[in-house]
């Protein structure tokens, strides 16, 4: 009971300290510079006043992020199966996969716009580009890190290559896959926002959070800008929470990193 209380109490305490510092800093600034750091109250008010815009923008960004994320999961899993086949396949493909990861989004963005046009297609494609790499690297590592003894056991009893892959390698790669998924789930909303700034389109109310941020900063609506930041954070939290729950549900029965209550 006290433990449970502590897990609520201490984070709440940290929050209170941060809020106090925030207010302190705000009033420490000279009056003509207070716009730099609006009070939490002002941010909340902006959140309330701009709720319809922010909600619509968040929804648009989520769609792009989800689409790109789903594409990344599907493609990376398929590719990881291929990459796990042999070191030669990995050596021949990894440098080019890295190249994709090493190219910054703002540079990829105009290329995407030429390809599929500004808007959700580009946002999804760019989210895919950023979420894809950690997924494929982690999943491949998982597929090739199967316990050697178990691989030999499968050979011993004459398992086919497919049986070895789907009964042994894929299940034991799951923890790695979920690690990649968590990294990708953090990157996907950020990627979608950055993509939205660089390749988004506001046509037909299609603008996302990145677009909204550009609008608010050009209008000098700083509390609304902070409110946009908060919305982006919230979106990231939701993405992560869903993945954590899914991972826990799929792994809890057998993986050591999830302690069972009856043990």
């Amino acid at each position: 009971m006290t433990r449970k209380l502590n897990t609520v109490l201490f984070p709440a305490l940290t929050g209170a300290v941060v809020l106090a510092l925030w207010y302190g800093l705000h009033f420490f600034l000279s009056e003509d510079r207070r716009f730099l750091l609006p009070t939490p109250g002002a941010v909340l008010a902006a959140l309330r006043d701009n709720a319809p815009f922010l909600a619509r923008a968040a929804w648009n960004t989520s769609q792009g992020a989800l689409l790109g994320f789903a594409l990344a999961v599907f493609v990376s899993f398929t590719l990881a199966l291929l990459l796990s086949l042999s070191p030669i396949v990995r050596a021949s493909l990894y440098p080019y996969l890295m190249a994709l990861q090493l190219t910054p989004l703002p540079i990829l963005a105009p290329i995407c716009v030429i390809w599929v046009g500004a808007g959700i297609n580009s946002v999804a494609l760019l989210t895919f580009a950023i979420a894809f790499f950690p997924l494929v690297v982690n999943t491949t590592q998982g597929l090739i890190s199967t316990d050697r003894n178990l691989v030999e056991l499968f050979r011993l009893y004459r398992a086919s290559r497919w049986q070895q892959l789907f009964l042994l390698r894929v299940p034991s790669a799951l923890p790695y896959f979920f690690t990649g998924l968590r990294i990708a789930a953090t990157l996907a909303p950020i990627g979608a926002v950055v993509a939205d700034m660089n390749a988004g389109s506001s046509a037909g109310d299609g603008g996302g959070l990145g677009f909204q941020a550009i609008i608010y900063s050009s209008q000098a609506k700083y509390p609304a800008l902070y409110a946009t930041a908060a919305t982006t954070c919230l979106l990231g939290f939701v993405f992560n929470a869903v993945i954590v729950i899914v991972a826990r549900y799929s792994l809890q029965n057998w993986h050591d990193s999830y302690e069972r209550p009856d043990k």
Binding site: R158, A159, N253, W254
Partner: protein
């Protein structure tokens, strides 16, 4: 009695390194049905190589090996794999159970492969029967991480039995277990042996070898000793002794705190 294993002047030379390694240098051996053999020797004595040969994981460089009347040295890789699946059961030091998989599904694993597939129901029945033999039918739905080390090894033994092998090969099966659990596992082996199963076991622990009926000692690739075990240990007796000692210790402990 017919010989399950008949080896004549078997040699194994590994050519892969710079210098060829002559790991087994002329071993002749007959193992009959219902024997229980301990294979002992220091590391580098050739016992693992001999075990690999017995397990059809490797073919001898020279010499002949008849397993249940079939000449192994003439078979190709696929035929060897078939023989392994049909005639041999394997138990390992590290248990090698699949993590996400219940005990009974682990036992079913060897049935999933090989040529003759049976129905899911027949497979389940057979697996449950094997779990019963090792005394774990009440743990069929448990995951490996819910089982103790000894229980995991018993599940692994049940898995080795599921294809009704002619010969059970165990490689240091008690190597990862504490002494009491080791005795329990040896008890399972003794019970299986009493029911007619032939067992060959690699071990480096003398007291574990004492539970077998016959022991071989290898040195430098040849058998230097091949004898029947004198005053063989019986697991049930040893466990009873252990229990008695524990009870006595508890009584003594209780007595001393009372005084």
């Amino acid at each position: 009695m017919s010989a399950v294993v008949k080896i004549e002047d078997i040699h194994k030379i590994y050519e892969s390194g710079e210098v060829p390694v002559h790991a087994v240098r002329g071993v002749s051996l007959e193992i009959h049905q219902q024997e229980f053999v301990a294979l002992m020797g220091a590391s580098g004595s050739g016992k693992s190589t001999l075990m690999n040969l017995l397990g059809c994981l490797d073919r001898p460089t020279r010499g002949s090996y008849l397993l249940d009347g079939v000449d192994i040295s003439r078979l190709d890789k696929n035929e060897l794999a078939d023989i392994r699946n049909k005639k041999l059961g394997f138990v390992f030091q590290g248990f090698n159970l699949l993590a996400r998989t219940t005990a009974v599904e682990n036992v079913e694993l060897p049935c999933l492969y090989g040529k003759q597939r049976m129905s899911a129901k027949a497979m389940r029945e057979r697996a449950m029967h094997c779990l019963e033999i090792v005394g774990l039918s009440n743990r069929a739905d448990h995951m490996p991480n819910q089982l103790s080390g000894g229980q995991q090894q018993r599940v692994a033994i049940a898995r080795a039995l599921v294809n009704e092998p002619q010969l059970l090969l165990a490689d240091e099966p008690t190597g990862n277990l504490d002494s009491k659990t080791s005795i329990e596992v040896m008890g399972v082996f003794q019970k299986l042996n009493d029911q007619g199963i032939t067992i060959v076991m690699v071990t480096h622990e003398l007291d574990v070898a004492h539970y077998c009926k016959r022991y071989l000692i290898l040195r430098d690739g040849v058998v230097v000793r091949d004898e029947a075990t004198l005053d063989r240990s019986i697991a049930n007796v040893e466990l009873a002794k252990l229990k008695q000692a524990e009870t006595a210790a508890k009584l003594l402990g209780a007595g001393s705190t009372a005084a």
